[in-house]
């Protein structure tokens, strides 16, 4: 990623270190210390039984062995990925579509300001408040069921939270609603940085709007798109509050909506730094691996 700066810059390079100081200092104090203790702890038996501290006793890789022994962790990984994809695919498609429309001058959309402002609004509602509203609306006796029964679509009320796919879909919908505005804003901010003279030149050359979008907007947007994909992937792997609150932390039915972090949260109840640490290291490795794939994939495209 490093750009080849010209030789004049060399004498200024010490400023690179100086500008990094605030980040590094704060990071060392507030994040690295807790992080190292997390990794360190993953090799120890270390939890609370009531008010009694058990350990820390060195156990080598026993926590990791326990983690993989039942195979559950892969189920939670699968759940996480499924719910992330269910929310992310529509999210990125809708965001790109909106971005394309908003940035297309020949479409002359009125009320852009209004629409751009409105799409981010759901993100302002706390996840817990949002979940409370979802409960009310999708309850057996709630307005959604009442409506579906009224119009004859359903014979009797459907328990949305008691069925695997409807529960997962609700999680995905809530995630989509909360985050598609966020993604759209990111993409739009990227699009705004694109030099308008490029568009003008393309239009003079008679390019269609979809050509402009594919040949100018998308390539120039690539860094931001990579950002959106990576951060959304990381956010997805860390999906927690929405399914946690919607299922009261149970991941029901039969843990089919339980994500990795929800599982991690279960171990935090007993302050199980050992198991929690091992699970975090696993999460860290798998997220890193997936991010690497995304980077690699984009590099290949670059060359083409």
């Amino acid at each position: 990623m490093a750009k080849n700066n010209n030789h004049k810059a060399v004498s200024y390079n010490k400023w690179g270190y100086i500008f990094l100081i605030p980040f590094v200092v704060v990071y060392l104090i507030f994040q690295l210390v807790p992080l190292i203790s997390t990794i360190y702890n993953s090799f120890f038996e270390n939890y609370r039984s009531g008010l009694t501290q058990i350990g820390p006793n060195f156990v080598g890789f026993a926590n990791y062995a326990k983690l993989f022994q039942s195979g559950e962790i892969w189920i939670y990984f699968k759940n996480t990925m499924i719910m992330w994809v269910m929310g992310f695919v529509p999210q990125i498609l809708v965001s790109l579509l909106l971005g394309a429309w908003f940035s297309n001058p020949s479409l002359r959309l009125k009320g852009q300001r209004f629409f751009k402002t409105v799409i981010y609004l759901p993100n302002l509602i706390m996840a817990s408040a949002f979940a409370m509203l979802f409960f009310t609306l999708f309850a057996d006796g709630g307005p959604i069921n009442a409506m579906l029964v009224h119009f004859g679509i359903l014979k009797e009320a459907y328990s949305f939270f008691s069925h695997k796919w409807s529960a997962r879909t609700l999680v995905a919908i809530l995630n989509f609603l909360m985050w598609f505005g966020n993604t759209t804003i990111l993409l739009m901010a990227g699009m705004m940085g694109i030099d308008p003279s490029l568009y003008e030149a393309a239009e003079v050359d008679g390019a269609t709007s979809s050509q402009i979008f594919r040949k100018i907007t998308l390539p120039l947007l690539r860094p931001i798109l990579i950002y959106v994909m990576i951060t959304s992937l990381i956010g997805g792997m860390q999906m927690f509050d929405v399914p946690q609150i919607l299922t009261n932390g149970t991941g029901d039915p039969m843990r089919s909506t339980m994500t990795l972090i929800m599982y991690l949260n279960k171990h935090l109840f007993s302050k199980n730094y050992g198991m929690g640490g091992a699970l975090s290291v696993f999460l860290f490795l798998i997220t890193g691996l997936l991010s690497l794939i995304v980077f690699q994939f984009n590099k290949v495209k670059d060359r083409r």
Binding site: G50, E72, T136, G142, D252, P253, S270
Partner: protein, 442 residues
């Protein structure tokens, strides 16, 4: 979302004759610490202390004064286990904390009381100078909750929360031909008849209870083995009975699987619902059943109370003294005043409608025929509450009760809804409990 608070409504007639509480001597604590740190999860105890403890003056939302002692309130909500996390950290640091930072007094709920009672972090009330005689009038179960494995009493409560079965009079009349509590009690005298009655109600289009979880507490309060025996998780026969009965009732459409406090669950408080009964203590009747709401059953006094198949309790807050407190005299005096002083307790009854933890006082009120609860159509349920409180036996508690209860209900919901077999649900329960308490096996 668990609500606690024992509340009863009393007629004006009962208010008469209550005199002001005597002023307790403050100077005994003169040579003790100058800061009293109290840990709790809501405002309930603070308002009790403000209104009923002689000499307590409020300074601001989190500070007060008793004589020359500063009272500091440390309030953390119980959501996400935050209260216990916070309390645990503070207790573990207790030995090294300076006198003014030490916790002096904290509150616990029954579900996790033993977690603190069975440790050295709580003081025996005997060490605070409170004798057995002084607490003789308290309901036995409130003392069971706070008794450690060596038989030491480690904390006290000012309230009692025995429960009853609360049913709809109009449905009882229609289906059984009578709404008389004594007659209806015959229909729910034990679980077999309860079950048969559920079928009878179903034939007329009614549901016995709003959810399976309504009756859970009645079963779990009457077990013969604790949740954990010698480090092994065990499911008591009576809990299994609850599962079997509940599954049959759900399959037959005689009840549902809603969570307590959910919208679907509380729909049964209103007239257009088909729910026959709920289980709850007095606070539940007066403050949870939407009796102030148009269209609710309670507004027109449409409910009645009966003992139900078995006795149980729901809710309650206990006061414990933290080991290492530098204010033992003051802490002891607060406990004594709030939980044993008859005049103070009567004051709590009349001012706050709290059902207090004093047997003779409550029985006296139970016998008062001029008292009736409007929500129950004028019925006086206190005798039933008193009888229920007597029968509660909590000798089979363990420090794991909160986690086990929660995970068991969660896991069984899958079984009831047909998403898992009983064994699969049971497996899930075991797994979830071991995640919470890694030291256990199954």
């Amino acid at each position: 979302m668990k609500r606690k608070m024992m509340v009863i409504t009393l007629t004006a007639a009962m208010l008469a004759g209550i005199t002001a509480a005597p002023v307790w001597a403050d100077d005994a604590a003169a040579d003790e610490g100058k800061v009293l740190n109290i840990y709790c999860w809501n405002e309930e105890f603070k308002s009790r202390l403000t209104e009923h403890y002689p000499g307590y003056e409020e300074v601001d939302g989190t500070h007060g004064k008793i004589g020359d002692v500063d009272v500091v309130w440390n309030i953390t909500p119980s959501d996400d286990n935050a209260y216990q996390n916070n309390l645990d950290e503070a207790l573990l640091k207790q030995a090294d904390a300076s006198d003014d930072d030490k916790i002096d007094l904290f509150l616990v709920e029954a579900d996790y009381a033993l977690k603190y009672v069975n440790t050295d972090y709580t003081m025996s009330v005997a060490d605070l100078g409170i004798t057995e005689d002084e607490v003789a009038d308290q309901y036995q179960y409130t003392k069971d909750v706070m008794t450690d494995s060596d038989g030491n009493l480690k904390g006290l409560s000012w309230q009692g929360c025995p429960g009853t079965m609360i049913y709809r009079r109009d449905i009882a009349k229609e289906v059984f031909g009578t709404d008389d509590p004594a007659e209806v009690q015959k229909k729910v005298a034990d679980w077999d008849t309860f079950k048969a009655t559920a079928a009878e109600l179903k034939d007329k289009g009614y549901q016995m209870t709003s959810t399976v979880n309504d009756s859970y507490r009645v079963f779990s309060n009457n077990v013969s083995t604790p949740w954990v025996v010698d480090g092994k998780i065990t499911v008591d026969d009576n809990i299994k009975n609850w599962v079997d009965m509940s599954k049959e009732m759900v399959d037959a459409g005689e009840t549902a699987t809603y969570e307590l406090w959910s919208d679907d669950w509380s729909k049964g408080f209103f007239k257009d619902s088909n729910v026959f009964a709920y289980f709850g203590p007095a606070w539940f009747i007066d403050f949870s059943m939407s009796a102030d709401q148009d269209g609710s059953v309670g507004k027109d006094g449409g409910w009645a109370a009966t003992e139900g198949p078995q006795g149980f309790y729901w809710g309650g807050t206990w006061i414990a003294a933290a080991t290492g407190t530098d204010n033992p005299t003051l802490v002891g005096d607060i406990m004594r005043t709030m939980t044993t002083d008859v005049d103070t307790m009567k004051e709590i009854v009349t001012q706050d409608n709290d059902f207090v933890n004093n047997k003779p006082a409550m029985e006296e009120m139970a016998a008062d025929e001029s008292y009736g609860d409007a929500v129950l159509g004028g019925q006086n349920p206190l005798a039933m509450f008193c009888a229920g409180a007597d029968k509660i036996d909590l000798s089979n508690m363990s420090i794991y009760d909160q986690g086990c209860t929660e995970e068991f209900q969660n896991a069984m919901k899958n079984y009831f809804e047909g998403n898992a077999s009983y064994d699969e649900a049971l497996d899930l329960f075991y797994k979830a409990v071991v995640e919470k308490y890694p030291e256990l096996t199954y």
